[in-house]
């Protein structure tokens, strides 16, 4: 009978836990809606570039940040994943960096770049006096070495494809002197200055490792800071699986107006907190100095509280594209010899009217209100929320919430309720239904899926929801193609060409029908042509026109049916100075605040208050 006893013991223990939850209900009810007394935190917004007026700060102190993921290495070349780039962006600088306001290339390790009349030969001047953190000077050799490493076929590099371009040809690099380089391009490349943002690595440290073909394993998470000379404001001081510690790089080239060497902060510390809710709790307890805030949690942050010692920065719509897309793959599974998508469904999915009807059926306002407390923006095209970007075209067709238009479109396609059961059928009597896949990790996405399901139910379309882990979903999208519809988010970029892999029909990330040999529709062929033309067009005004057409096609054809984009919000403790948030909320919102990390300092009096 022992076993029964222990089963009961666990059951009772679990029941006690639930009782605790019930007690929390009571506690919650008791304090609602009055809330605790105290102060409301301040609200901040993105500022205009002319308001960017950094003050002279003080040395010392540290900033504690959350990180959702662990670094997989500290190798800026081989890593493509955000969880690593989040860290390496503070260690390694590129020749150029992105201007936080205009998104254009601005000087970083290079001070100047200019092309010849044909746009094929570029001369790049390095910044004089830059030293690696181990004291060695930065030389043109380091740049040559970095690009050789990226082009080296033994190196796993996500940047190689975008550097090789459509012609698959290497750039030719020559060293003119220690601080001058000449790049000879196989074809004109309008995004060349932006592409110079590849992080530069030191040849004196990694030359032999690359030569031995062991670069992929170099710079692992067990590296010591001394082994990783950097040019960025911070260098690695330690990583123990739960914390990443960066210390000030004393050799960093920038100085403030008074000639003091930057950065001001002595230390950057990341706590690895893999869950957003836990990050929020740790921020509220004072363990973190900053956290990303989701719309649904906004009331929790702005209500009066005892420790209202932070500012909540609201930075406008996030850079990103959240969408529903349908599998338009006409291919046949080579193993089962059956089409990836059932032919009658494929016919709907490939019909733009069907996708427009779905867009008309989406109640984006409720998605914003019900899921994110109204702190989200309906999106209709790739850049409709980012009119501030140079290449944006906000004047695209919008298929807004209108059930009558949706019904009319479906009827035009021959999808109507033929047997009076409330469900639509097509001409052959197939019931109009499909499976919508989301990943279990994202609560917001699961809720958006539930909304879409209800919205389409009103039209008589049945949606079956299915959730899987993110990795399983990516496998399904990228290699097995056994999906019908899915909800996804991709990082948006101000430079359209960086999304070429998504928009070109042969692209691996061409979500709805990747790796096409021949574009399967006329509009996809036009997209291919636009992206080939856009990159070789050097005149910004003409480029803008070219990419305007791309956004028009995407909005018209709805291969991606855009949903809502959340407001980017970051909470940061008030004890930091020189905080000038920009609108640069990609890849992640905190970057908008920390674009000038080297100038951020701890305001007088209370440095080192943060508990560890």
């Amino acid at each position: 009978m022992r076993k029964a006893g222990s089963t009961r013991a666990t059951a009772v223990a679990a029941a006690a836990l639930i009782a605790l939850a019930a007690a929390l209900v009571a506690a919650g009810l008791a304090c609602w809606p009055h809330g605790p007394a105290g102060q409301r935190p301040r609200l901040g917004h993105a500022i205009a570039p002319e308001q960017y007026t950094p003050q002279i700060g003080r040395r010392g102190g540290r900033l504690v940040l959350p990180s959702l993921g662990r670094p997989k290495s500290f190798n800026p070349i081989t890593s493509g994943e955000m969880s690593t780039i989040d860290f390496t962006q503070f260690m390694y600088l590129g020749l150029t960096a992105m201007d936080p306001w205009t998104f254009a290339a601005q000087p970083s390790l290079a001070t100047d770049w200019a092309s010849d009349a044909a746009g094929l030969v570029w001369t790049v001047k390095l910044r004089p006096g830059v030293r690696w953190s181990d004291g060695q000077p930065l030389r043109a050799d380091d740049v040559l070495f970095t690009f050789d490493t990226i082009y080296d076929s033994r190196t796993i590099s996500s940047a190689r494809d975008s550097l090789l371009g459509p012609a698959k040809e290497r750039w030719k690099l020559e060293k003119l002197d220690d601080l001058t380089l000449r790049f000879t391009l196989p074809a004109r490349n309008a995004a060349f200055p932006e592409l110079l943002n590849q992080p530069i690595i030191p040849r004196h440290r990694f030359g032999t490792i690359v030569a031995a073909g062991k670069f992929n394993e170099a710079m692992g998470t067990n590296s010591r800071g001394e082994d990783l000379p950097v040019t960025g404001p911070f260098m690695l001081a330690g990583y123990d699986g739960t914390r990443v510690i960066f210390k000030r790089n004393p050799q960093f080239y920038k100085t403030d107006a008074a000639g003091n060497r930057l950065p001001y902060l002595d230390e950057l510390l990341w706590l690895i907190v893999p869950e957003v809710n836990t990050q929020m709790l740790k921020f509220r307890q004072g363990e973190l100095d900053a956290t990303t805030v989701m719309g649904k949690d906004y009331p929790l942050f702005v209500r009066p509280q005892k420790r209202a010692d932070f500012t909540l920065y609201m930075l406008g719509p996030n850079w990103g594209e959240s969408f529903l897309d349908f599998n338009q793959n006409t291919g046949v599974n080579p193993r089962t010899h059956r089409p990836y998508v059932q032919p009658h469904k494929l016919a709907w999915f490939r019909d733009a009217r069907f996708r427009r009807a779905v867009s008309h059926a989406m109640d984006r306002r409720f998605m914003a209100d019900g899921i994110l407390n109204g702190l989200a923006y309906p999106q209709y095209g790739p850049m409709t929320l980012h009119g501030e970007a140079l290449m944006a075209n906000v004047d695209v067709p919008r298929y807004e919430y209108d059930l009558d238009k949706a019904r009319a479109l479906l009827k035009e396609m021959g999808l109507e309720d033929r047997d009076g059961d409330g469900c639509l059928e097509d001409g052959q009597g197939h019931r109009v239904e499909f499976t919508l896949t989301t990943n279990v990790e994202s609560e917001v996405r699961a809720k958006v899926a539930a909304c879409i399901r209800q919205d389409l139910e009103k039209l008589g379309i049945r949606v079956n929801l299915r959730s899987m882990t993110f990795n399983a979903l990516i496998t399904s999208l990228d290699s097995t193609y056994d999906w019908e519809a899915c909800l996804m988010t991709i990082l948006g970029t101000p430079e359209p060409h960086w999304g070429a892999d998504v928009w070109k029909s042969a692209g691996r990330a061409h979500e709805w029908f990747p790796n096409q040999v021949q574009p399967s529709t006329a509009w996809e062929a036009e997209l291919d042509e636009i992206f080939d033309r856009g990159i070789t067009e050097m005149d910004p005004v003409r480029r803008r026109e070219i990419y305007a057409r791309w956004q028009e096609i995407v909005a018209e054809q709805q291969p991606l049916i855009y949903t809502v984009i959340p407001e980017a919000m970051v909470a940061l403790r008030g004890r930091f100075g020189n905080v000038f948030p920009s609108r640069r909320t990609f890849p992640e919102p905190p970057n908008a605040i920390f674009h000038n990390i080297e100038e951020i300092y701890v305001l007088g009096g209370e440095s080192g208050q943060t508990r560890e």
């Binding site: 076993k3 089963t7 029941a15 639930i18 019930a22 209900v25 949690d297 109204g374 279990v440 209800q454």
Partner: protein, 388 residues
């Protein structure tokens, strides 16, 4: 302690029917003795009544619940709990409770501020016509609800979730999964456990060794991880009903082994008793001996074990659902409803989302108390000790 009457101790425990010989009149069946003992166990009786009410509500869910489980109303997202009034806007008292139509606006801090339109009151009515729901596991349709209010007003006794669905209705419908998963699962585990345990104990030898090692292997694997792994092996195209059965079978798969071991032990002890010897001597086939003579004497344990195992299934389902596996929305289960209440924000601003936790708590407690009572009632040694 009362004195043990001589005539009660006399008969062997294997024949509980004889226990009541001292009572004048017809001898009591084992069941009625157990029932008599159980009735004296007050906590167990309360638990039984609670469970009966819950199961009745679950069977008649479409009728008892004021709304079908998926009746959403986006204008009513996160409607707070309890919108019944007895005093109207002018301060007059009404004997019949009523509700007002309400709607929300965001304040500058994005809190939902609810305003009631007091121009018209909608009284609470019994046996009202409303949206058609199903009951008896979807076998019957009903448009009549035990209580409710006339549309467009909506009754939210326990509040609404983010889609404006009534939490109370969803809890009642969620019972379809949460209240049955334990019984179905335990039944499956019981059948496997008794067969394997019975064979293992009765046959002995190499067969016993093999079966016991298999049991140990299954018990070795940490339960929750096995759950997650097995859940991932379910094909993705299943309907929520199929997922439900998948989850039940997975839960049963994890728990039959421990049952089988205990049953084996009991069979081993019963195997050498006189009545089994007699049956074997009489030429009964081993199958008959096991099913007719050996296993029945393990029933009292089996019933107790079953009532104590049911909560484990309910909690197992809730656990799976809370991490996003298990029966998917919009079909409600107490677990997937609780999943919505996971974050601090929800607990702070919409604490009524935690009500499904209370339902789980009540059910688990009730089954535990009932199991306790049953054990006392069915234990042959305690039967005689109770005062007649």
């Amino acid at each position: 302690m009362t004195q043990i009457p001589q005539n009660v101790v006399e008969p062997p425990a294997e024949e509980p029917g004889a226990l009541a010989r001292g009572v004048p009149g017809r001898p009591l069946s084992p069941l009625s003795i157990a029932w008599r003992n159980l009735r004296k166990h007050r906590l167990a009786m309360v638990a039984l009544v609670v469970l009966i009410i819950m199961y009745l509500a679950m069977l008649c869910d479409g009728f008892v619940a004021p709304y079908p489980y998926n009746a959403w109303d986006r204008q009513q997202a996160y409607h707070p709990a309890w919108n019944l009034h007895v005093v109207d806007a002018e301060g007059r008292f009404h004997l019949r409770p009523f509700v007002y139509v309400s709607h929300y606006e965001f304040d500058p801090y994005r809190n939902r501020i609810w305003r009631e339109d007091t121009s018209r009151a909608y009284p609470l009515k019994l046996l009202v016509r409303g949206q058609t729901g199903t009951m008896l596991f979807g076998l019957l349709k009903t448009g009549v609800h035990l209580y409710g209010v006339q549309a467009p007003a909506r009754l939210y006794l326990l509040g609404a979730d983010w889609q404006g669905r009534d939490i109370l209705s969803r809890i009642i419908f969620g019972g379809r999964v949460s209240l049955t998963i334990g019984i179905v699962g335990t039944a499956i585990a019981m059948i496997i456990g008794m067969i394997v345990g019975g064979i293992s104990g009765y046959v002995g030898g190499a067969g016993d060794t093999v079966l016991q090692r298999i049991c140990e292997l299954i018990m070795l694997i940490p339960g929750f991880y096995t759950l997650m792994i097995l859940y991932n092996t379910l094909p993705a195209s299943l309907t929520s009903m199929q997922v439900y059965f998948g989850v039940v079978v997975i839960l049963a798969f994890i728990s039959w082994a421990s049952l089988a071991r205990v049953i084996r032990g009991m069979v081993l002890s019963v195997k050498s008793s006189d009545f089994v010897m007699a049956a074997r001597a009489g030429g009964s086939s081993p199958w008959r001996v096991v099913t007719r003579h050996v296993l029945p004497s393990t029933f009292s344990y089996a019933i107790v074990a079953a009532s104590l195992q049911i909560p484990a299934y309910i909690l197992g389902e809730a656990g799976l659902s809370v991490i996003g596996m298990g029966v998917q929305e919009p079909a409600p289960t107490w677990g997937n409803m609780l999943q919505q209440a996971k974050s601090v924000t929800e607990m702070t601003f919409h604490p009524w989302l935690l009500w499904p936790g209370v339902a789980i708590f009540l059910t688990v407690m009730a089954f535990n108390f009932l199991g306790d009572g049953l054990r006392d009632a069915l234990d042959p040694r305690t039967v005689g000790l109770k005062k007649e």
